[in-house]
């Protein structure tokens, strides 16, 4: 069991498992509706040319999250593509 890191620190090409949402209220509900809930596998795909937002793949869908949103999602590191 590794320690939890905020999603935006997951480097592109790596995947993790969502363990905790620290967002509250509407923001939290929106994330959950996008499928960002406990034990969901998520993969960091790539950064925007300007560094932010970052595109993530989860449940077969690609969504872009800004770093302030992604920092409210804590994940456990899983693996990195070679």
């Amino acid at each position: 069991m590794g320690s939890l890191i905020p999603l935006h620190q997951l480097s592109p090409g790596s995947s993790g498992i969502v363990k905790k949402l620290t967002a509250q209220g509407n923001e939290r509900r929106r994330m959950m509706d996008l499928g960002l809930v406990y034990n969901t596998k998520i993969k960091s795909l790539q950064k925007s040319p300007c560094g932010d937002p970052i595109a993530y793949e989860l449940r077969g869908v690609v969504i872009a999250l800004r770093s302030e949103s992604a920092s409210q999602i804590l994940v456990e590191y899983l693996a990195t593509d070679e």
Binding site: R28, P53, R59
Partner: protein, 716 residues
Amino acid sequence: MDFHSKSAIGSVKETSLMYQNCVDGLVIALAGNPNTGKSTIFNSLTGLNQHTGNWPGKTVANAQGRYNHKGNNYNLIDLPGTYSLAANSPEEEIARDFICFGRPQATVVVADATTLERNLNLVLQIMEITDKVVVCVNLLDEAGRKGIHIDLQRLSSLLGVPVIGTSARTGVGLNELQDTIQDVASGKITTKPLKVHYNSLIEDLVSKIEPVISLCIKDKFISRWISLRLLENQDPFLEVVGKYLAKDICSEKDILHTLTQLEQYLVQNNIGKDELCDSMVLEILKNAEEISAATISYAKQSYNQQDRQIDNILTSRLFGIPIMISLLGLILWITIEGANYPSQALTIGLFWFEEKLTDFCLWVNCPNWLHGALVLGVYRTLAWVIAVMLPPMAIFFPLFTILEDLGYLPRVAFNLDNFFKKACAHGKQALTMCMGLGCNAAGVIACRIIDSPRERLIATITNNFVPCNGRFPALIALAMIFIAGSAGQYQSVLAVLTIVALIVLGIVITLTVSKLLSHTILKGMPSSFTLELPPYRKPQIGRIIVRSLYDRTLFVLGRAVMVAAPAGLIIWIMANVFMGDNEISIIQYGANVLDPFARYLGLDGFILIAFILGFPANEIVIPILIMAYMSTGQLIEINSLESLRELFVSHEWTWLTALCTMLFFLNHFPCGTTLLTICKETQSKKWPLVAFIVPTMTGIILCFVVAQTVRLLGWA
């Protein structure tokens, strides 16, 4: 915030009214996630051409259409595309309220076969409100290409409602879908929708509330759903329920009593609402996960590898932005170059008809003033607006729609979002700005794709800082004559650079003003950021041409005509009614009055009045100016740049006059069509007013500073 709730409620009320008026037809709601081809299904069934785009969140106000199937009439309501019914946004609220309180005879939920699991979240939520559900798994062809197989029969038996597979783009499965809708609506098929069971705490609480609710609300289905929602969020929800059921359920003693008890119970046992809410969402998602695991099989593990490879290029650090700029530049170039010929042809045709109208007037002995007002005033202005506006739009919109259909546009938003984030705006504003290059009114309509209220208003108000097609020809002409005039063979290169500089300036102003707005009048408006990057799809050229011509070009042109016709009359009157001792026209008089003020801005009275009279369309500003300078009674054009230069120079133009005129072109009130569109989109009078004042003040300040500085330095 008020405009959103107003428009949301307005549209639901309208639809429920319509539902009551249509005795002859059944009402069918069409729901689904954004970007699932929902609107394609809507179009195919109703034949009504409503725009569909390959970007999430297109339909905001609900579109309606009718169709006939096997002798029965159907009214199809296209609800906004949403991920959920949690009422996080006005769109979700509209969808939720209509499904629940509009009581459609059936609700079709369109799901994307390539991302079924995520779509099931909405399906399960809707099945909690109504049992009359048909699930339409669309984009089966695309899923097939990606090696995704879905066991539709199994899915149907797990969900307990009919499931129809379709490929709406080719029309596959639509007949079966219509048959099934008919059977569900008529009750021939009885459904047994899967009921999501929550944890014992929630079920326990629901069993306490539900009996009391069902005393007031007969529908068994709704009472469970209302009870669940009351657990999440009481007060605002009770208000909504009361409004639609025309029953003040808050004043029912039993309900109040139960709710107070519930509240006490939660406090005593230290249970937070968030906790309840979380476990409900989790439970639904868990169901979705299990169902998809049982019904979806993947032939290839990396089924969307190709999309990722394309993304690696189109959004890469190295190529992302250069590719984007070249694509946009190419579209603009094709538009400006390509519009010349059809524009000339249209002008010739329309002016030939004007001559025939004049002949007709002579033949019927029509008085001079009437011929002048109607033919030289109204008709000529109309003809002018159509001839210069139609061709560029007819070229720009289809080209832009190809990028939209491909799925490229969300990538543009992704590439540029960081700039917009710094300006407190949304990355999708980049798209509404690109659309603004074609036409600001269309750009304002495009702001619908921004789902966050504050960012949507920012994009709406600042769209005018991007020069539209109507302003380009004037900007190019002025740049050619006054800025690049002495550059010899490099004239056109220098002119292009000037235009690019102006666009860049427009972007800088947009970002600055966006930031200012969000810190001032829009402070505190709710804001959020979600951007989905949908799969790339092959564009359908035929459909694009029809849709972009019908939905965008003709639509904008229609509004422009509405504004231009009365304006044509006013312009003619102002140019042909003479007043005072010197018998000067009203235009001349107005120009004299405005002149001292205009001089401070580096302009003159005529230029300023041309901008004011050019309110219906930016295309006619220069023709009005020429008309005013030459004291002719009607709009005229000068085709040669050299004679235009002579005319302007004889009215004391310098490069500073041209520069200030160009700056004022970039920064002044939006045209009448755009303001009318802002009015319709925001359902308010306040925001069009703000959209009028903000760019005008910007223009006045900018021109003043530039003119005074240059004069102070003695450069001109």
